[in-house]
């Protein structure tokens, strides 16, 4: 397939190209560990975009309305609020450090002027309120402008305080802290469609919380064997169904997905559906278990499908068919012959995430060398794009990249051996309504959007 045509008609048949919009983060060559982005998430409207990093910070970007004198620009995302969500801690009982790294951020559906999000590190989930203040009450009766109480004898007349405009201030305040419920490392949080509860998953257990209640949670899945030496499987990701508040799924390190119905029993140790694809015995290797481990699971917006990412591929499952995925897309199949080196340099343990576009017609996931991949579900076409500073001129169109797989390397192709495995795109997010994507490349956040012809 001709590359140019492929990316021209990509994403649901719309005639557009992806172009550079913005890049956030320092240009410096040496990257501080704390600045590495560890999660990216749009809110429900797409107006806000949150990132979390290894330093425990959350940065929220807000979409600015397009300006009238530059109608071709759709408006940019600018920093709205930055706050320290988690601090490094020490577990004195286990004599273990607890990292501040933000593992996941999930927005709550907006219900009033304020925005709420959940952020989690390995152990503790926090509910944050992000609210604006652009007015200040002035002229109090009993206290002066500095807040000091006035002498009652000097109050001779009644004053009514008035709201005076002031510079916009965005406040982030922790509203709830959900701690001490996870023995292992939290890998997922997911807000339920009832807007009242959410689940959190670690390696062996899934807990169900009420957003208002911090001192108790319900353990709904527990796969810990009585004897840990019999352990063969861990939970790698979990998510609530987007519409049915009784349904959730969790993926495992064995490459399987279990769908549970909370109506069936309070304890969901027994699943309702079990999604598994039989393994191809011809492709078995030392690393079969590692590469089949699922690193992410995401329901489609419609709730009809779910997508799973393993090391080499991304699969779309129909919730009505358990025995095999309806679609399988190879992300970087050329790495299959490099698994041994990828094991030695630890890359094989990388946890790539995946996301749907707003209409569920296309999916996106990351790869190495700052490449990311998109797959059009209707046309089954795919495209490799690169997040790089070189092509980061405003409105620059992204050229499709190609990795040469065996044989002669054509012009404009990159050989597998020259891929930079330190540059990896693990976290991406797709705007819920528009063709705007956010791509985390180490400490930089790239925002790309479509260029309507």
């Amino acid at each position: 397939m001709d590359g140019a045509r492929m990316w021209h008609v990509f994403a649901g048949g719309n005639d557009f190209q992806w172009c550079f919009s913005q890049v956030k983060g320092a240009i410096d060559e040496d990257v501080a560990e704390a600045d590495i982005i560890s999660t990216v998430e749009f809110n429900y409207s797409g107006e806000l975009l949150a990132t979390g990093d290894k330093g425990g910070r959350v940065v929220i970007f807000q979409h600015e309305q397009e300006s009238k004198n530059r109608p071709h620009l759709r408006g940019e995302y600018n920093v709205y609020s930055t706050f320290q969500s988690h601090e490094p801690e020490f577990d004195y009982l286990k004599s273990l450090e607890i990292e501040e790294k933000i593992n996941k951020i999930r927005w709550l559906p907006q219900q009033n002027a304020a925005h709420f999000l959940l952020s989690t590190n390995d152990k503790t989930i926090k509910l944050w309120k992000i609210s604006e203040r652009d007015k200040r009450a002035e002229g109090y009766n009993l206290k002066d402008e500095d807040g000091r109480l006035r002498d009652p004898f000097r109050i001779t007349s009644l004053r009514v305080p008035v709201l005076m405009p002031m510079d916009l201030m965005v406040e982030a305040s922790p509203r709830r802290i959900f701690a001490n419920a996870h023995t292992y490392h939290i890998n997922s949080i997911s807000v339920n469609s009832d807007h009242e509860t959410y689940l959190s998953a670690d390696d062996l257990r899934i807990n169900l919380w009420h957003l208002e209640i911090t001192d108790r949670s319900f353990n709904i899945v527990d796969i810990k064997p009585a004897n840990m030496e019999e352990l063969t499987e861990v939970i790698t990701a979990a998510e609530c169904h987007p519409h049915q508040c009784n349904v959730f799924v969790y993926s495992s390190s064995k490459g399987t997905i279990r769908l549970c119905d909370m109506r069936a029993a309070a304890l969901c140790d027994r699943h309702s559906k079990f999604f598994e694809e039989p393994e191809d015995p011809s492709s078995r290797s030392f690393f079969s278990e590692i590469i089949s481990s699922i690193s992410d699971v995401k329901f489609s917006h419609s709730g009809r499908y779910m997508m799973t990412r393993d090391y080499l591929s991304v699969k779309v499952w129909d919730l009505n068919m358990e025995n095999r995925p309806v679609e399988t897309y190879q992300v970087h199949e050329y790495l299959r012959s490099k698994l041994c080196s990828l094991y030695e340099n630890d890359c094989i343990f990388d946890k790539f995430e995946c996301c749907w576009n707003g209409s569920d017609s296309a999916i996106m996931t990351g790869s190495y060398n700052n490449f990311f991949r998109m797959f059009d579900r209707n046309t089954r076409r795919d495209i490799t794009l690169e997040a790089s500073r070189e092509s980061s001129k405003p409105r620059a169109t992204l050229k499709p990249r190609k990795v040469s797989t065996g044989g002669k390397r054509k012009k404009d192709e990159i050989s597998v051996d020259s891929l930079d495995f330190n540059k990896k795109i693990l976290h991406t997010a797709w705007h819920p309504k528009d063709n705007v994507i956010a791509v985390a490349a180490t400490n930089n956040l790239y925002i790309f959007q479509d260029k309507i012809n």
Binding site: H185, A226, E229, T232, T236, F286, E289, Y343
Partner: protein, 195 residues
């Protein structure tokens, strides 16, 4: 042979990774450790099965083999890991290669699994020399002056009054085939002579 070397290398890499993950900030990652142990297991299986394949041709003393007419489970193909003959090592029941089955199964389901004290046997290796690949440092008893490390020459088996050594004293680095052959030879001291 190549598969064998590859398996050895992967085993060595896995061990160093497991060691390194102990010092991992934020504590040992269960998912990673589990995947590492699975790679180690498949590498170990392949390592042993490839050794098994080349075993009869190489390591085994040729003079003893034709005499052995008793069926020996160890030489049957398809066994991933040879076990010591039950007759020689009756303390260890036939089992899976996984160490987990060595333990008393704890059927009691308790709410607080974190604070369970698993009633278990000693975790020390018991004569499972065949499970230890030869690149692992082998723990051996200190030699007394004059004592010989490896099996004595064939002739010494015929010495009158010699006490048969327990299977545990066999050098752990010997491949399983050779080891069992020696054990058999010790039981039937005439085997070597009749050739």
């Amino acid at each position: 042979m190549e598969v064998n070397a590859e398996a050895r290398r992967i085993l060595a890499v896995s061990i160093s990774k497991l060691y390194a993950s102990r010092t991992q900030r934020g504590g040992l990652r269960l998912h990673r450790s589990l995947l590492l142990s699975m790679v180690m297991r498949s590498a170990r299986d392949i390592y042993h099965s490839s050794r098994e394949c080349e075993g009869p041709a190489g390591a085994q003393p040729a003079s003893e083999e034709p005499m052995d007419t008793t069926p020996n489970p160890e030489e049957q193909p398809g066994l991933p890991e040879p076990e010591p003959q039950p007759a020689l090592n009756s303390t260890e029941p036939a089992q899976e290669e996984s160490d987990s089955s060595e333990e008393d199964s704890d059927t009691e389901i308790t709410e607080d699994k974190e604070n369970l004290s698993p009633a278990r046997q000693s975790r020390k290796r018991r004569g499972k020399a065949s499970a230890a690949p030869d690149f692992l440092p082998s723990k051996r008893a200190r030699l007394e002056p004059g004592e010989e490390r490896y099996a004595a020459p064939l002739g010494s088996w015929r010495l009158p009054g010699r006490v048969e050594p327990p299977p545990l004293s066999l050098p752990p680095s010997l491949p399983p085939q050779q080891r069992s052959a020696e054990q058999r030879a010790e039981k039937k001291p005439d085997a070597g002579r009749k050739v």
